[in-house]
């Protein structure tokens, strides 16, 4: 092989190498190579990674505690404060915001009114000490990425309790990712077991399971979901609620996935390698786990990524109507609950800033899932 390559010159050596790389590449390398070619999917993947990382490091990246403990009682329903470099008094290298003051006097009709003091600057500082937090749930810390001295900075403004919307948004992204992961995981395990049994055994077991799965699939998920969620005991703690909600999401989300697993198993189980394993005396469980599942891991991963945003959206909808997560937990649904009043819509539109983050999160997942699906399909290249 080497002599042939040498006679054909350096270009075909590279050709040869590329070919060799292609034919010896593992499944994962092939998928990655195809995935890299899709620009939208790559952009979405980068966005997604940024969001996931900012969710994981939310306590460090957000300047204040997202719960009522981190509230700024002097700046409730406050407008977003954008750091700036210049104002009427000149420019500075370090970004700053203007200080706000509260006053109550005859001029303001004896109501508390917040006023921006254009002459007083609060400079943005890096790595400031602030509210205590625990990174990943166990690394304690007090240092936050940014903050200001002698006041507070609220990039996205504050809500009616004075809680920082920027901090809450970052934490809410993390909550959504957690709920989605747990929900997807439960749905995945259920789908594997149910779809696996149906697909592997076939026959009447398959027919019965298919019938039940189809029946469950026709029930509209969110009303059913609401029905189950409504009967959670109201005295549950926020954490327990969180796990219940994720569990319910998983319990309702399995049928679609189970169907895919079953269809694939039905076609694969008659292949020779399965027969070989069975002749060697492998038990059904072993055959499914070691031989059949690896044959379509990539499809399963794609399905998981695609079903993820629906979990996030369901959780948001449920929390929004007050049947899902409750207040100390930051979640988009919880945050939007306060945004439905006409007062908020007319005067405090910054309540809606987190919505942008969620649309971006969901769309990133959809695009990445789409890209992965194309990349995982070995025939996608021959089509083009």
């Amino acid at each position: 092989m080497t002599s042939e390559a040498q006679t054909n010159g350096p270009i075909s050596t590279e050709d040869q190498k590329a070919k060799e790389a292609y034919f010896t590449a593992s499944q994962r390398q092939l998928i990655w190579a195809r995935f890299k070619k899709q620009r939208t999917a790559m952009i979405a993947a980068v966005v997604l990674i940024v969001l996931v990382v900012s969710g994981i490091f939310a306590p460090f990246l957000s300047p204040y505690d997202p719960t009522i403990a981190g509230r700024d009682k002097d700046y409730t329903n406050g407008a977003p404060q954008i750091p700036q470099f210049c104002d009427t008094n000149g420019c500075s290298m370090r970004p700053f915001i203007h200080a706000v003051e509260r006053e109550r006097s005859l001029a303001t009709n004896f109501r508390w009114v917040t006023k921006v003091n254009e002459d007083k600057r609060l400079y943005v500082q890096w790595f400031v000490k602030g509210d205590k937090y625990e990174l990943f749930g166990f690394v304690p810390g007090t240092v936050h990425l940014f903050g200001v001295e002698g006041g507070k900075i609220h990039l996205f403004g504050t809500d009616e309790d004075g809680q920082d919307i920027f901090s809450r948004t970052l934490h809410a992204v993390w909550t959504s990712l957690q709920v989605g992961s747990i929900g997807v995981f439960i749905a995945f395990v259920l789908a594997l077991i149910i779809g696996g049994v149906a697909g592997y055994y076939g026959g009447w077991i398959d027919s019965v399971i298919q019938m039940v799965t189809d029946a469950v699939r026709t029930v509209p998920a969110i009303p059913l979901f609401m029905a189950i969620a409504a009967f959670m005991p109201p005295e549950l703690s926020a954490e327990a609620r969180f796990f219940y909600i994720s569990m319910i999401l998983g319990l309702i989300g399995w049928p679609t996935l189970a169907r895919r697993v079953r269809t694939h198993l039905l076609t694969e189980r008659n292949q020779e390698y399965v027969l070989a394993a069975q002749l060697c005396g492998a038990s059904p469980g072993h055959t499914i786990r070691r031989h059949l599942l690896p044959s379509f891991t990539s499809y399963i991963i794609v399905d998981l990524v695609i079903s993820f945003p629906y979990m996030v959206l369901s959780e948001t909808a449920l929390s929004f109507i007050g049947l899902g997560l409750k207040d100390p937990v930051s979640s988009l649904g919880v945050m939007l609950q306060k945004a439905t009043s006409a007062d908020v819509m007319l005067n405090y539109q910054w309540y809606f800033i987190p919505v942008v983050f969620f649309i971006v999160l969901v769309m990133a997942f959809v695009f990445v899932g789409d890209g992965l699906r194309d990349a995982a399909d070995p025939y996608s290249e021959s089509h083009k």
Partner: protein, 334 residues
């Protein structure tokens, strides 16, 4: 003809079986709820000042038939449910069929209109997108339909309300104007309803459109590349005639089949959109039944009715497909 009747009968039996399984699921869920109707009713009486004892609860249970075994109660419930009779609501103490009645048909009407709207947009646009080689058009459409999927309907409803309150100074809520709310049905009332209903129909149709658009486009681009289309265009068929008579007819089957799932999707959004737009329909009633009073009778009835409409739609689309598609018809008649 006889085999066609047999086909319809098999489909009907299958739909019925699905409904029975669903009713079992729904009924078991209603049973799992802590506390039963008797306890709820007497707890309510207790708050009104009358004392109650365990014997009272038992007597109430016997009256409602709650002391019978699970299976008997389920059979009674399901037989009544098929006759449109769901018993009394636990909390409101009104007959559920009376309570739901018009509201359910109203919601169903809105949802079906949303479905029609979705396909009225998705079918032509999807076919054009699949047929054209214009990259910008395709990418824009792809982005729009993904955006439709990513943006949950309740957010859209909120944003539309935000815009209408900020710029137009009016909130677009409710289904009827005040003077028509309790009036009998008349032409004027219908007109009034349509003035209000376009918004929920549009919002509910939004993500259904996005989804249908993707389905139509994918199916059409699969079909367009096939040889029979090339053959037809070689024979000189072109333009709209080519698209409609060849690939569109093939793509029709899966589209008709997906109608049921699209209705399911729309039902998913109904309660929340109803809540935001303050509509007095079944969806809002469901939320009320669940969130405020734990009314399992009412909740069960609504979920059962919603599922029943999906199953019915599925049944009709199956039959419709057999009528429309000669291939399906052949496979039945053989």
């Amino acid at each position: 003809m006889l085999s066609f009747v047999r086909f319809i009968l098999t489909r009907a039996v299958m739909a019925l079986a699905t409904l029975i399984i669903v009713s079992l699921v729904v009924f078991s869920l209603m049973e799992l709820v802590p506390g039963d109707c008797a306890e709820r009713y007497l707890a309510f009486k207790n708050t009104q000042g009358s004392g109650i004892s365990v014997a009272d609860i038992e007597a109430e249970r016997a009256r409602l038939g709650l002391d019978k075994p699970f299976f008997t109660r389920w059979t009674v419930w399901i037989t009544n449910a098929f006759q449109g009779e769901f018993g009394d609501s636990c909390i409101l103490r009104v007959n559920i069929a009376d309570l739901l009645g018009q509201k359910f048909w109203l919601s169903l009407g809105i949802c079906l209109s949303a479905l029609v709207l979705a396909y009225a947009i998705a079918v032509p646009v999807g076919i054009i997108a699949a047929a054209s080689n214009n990259a910008t058009l395709n990418n824009t459409l792809k982005f729009i339909s993904y955006f439709g999927l990513a943006m949950p309907n309740f957010l859209l409803a909120l944003l539309i309300m935000l815009i209408s309150t900020v710029w137009f100074g009016e909130t677009l809520t409710g289904l009827f104007s005040k003077e028509y709310r309790d009036a009998d049905w008349s032409w004027a009332k219908l007109v009034d309803l349509m003035k209000h209903a376009w918004l929920p129909i549009f919002i509910l149709g939004w993500s259904a459109t996005a989804f249908a658009l993707q389905t139509v486009r994918a199916l059409m681009s699969d079909e367009i590349g096939k040889l029979y289309v090339t053959a037809a265009s070689a024979r000189g068929v072109s333009g709209r005639k080519l698209l409609w008579n060849y690939p569109a007819r093939h793509a029709l089957g899966p589209i008709v089949n997906s109608l049921g799932f699209d209705l399911n999707r729309i039902f998913n959004e109904l309660p929340i959109v109803a809540l935001i737009l303050v509509m007095t329909d079944a969806g809002a009633l469901l939320i009320e039944a669940l969130a405020r009073s734990n009314d399992q009778q009412l909740a069960g009835a609504i979920i059962f009715l919603l599922t029943a409409s999906i199953v019915t739609l599925n049944f009709f689309t199956d039959v419709l497909l057999a009528v429309l598609d000669p291939r399906v018809r052949k496979s039945i008649l053989r």
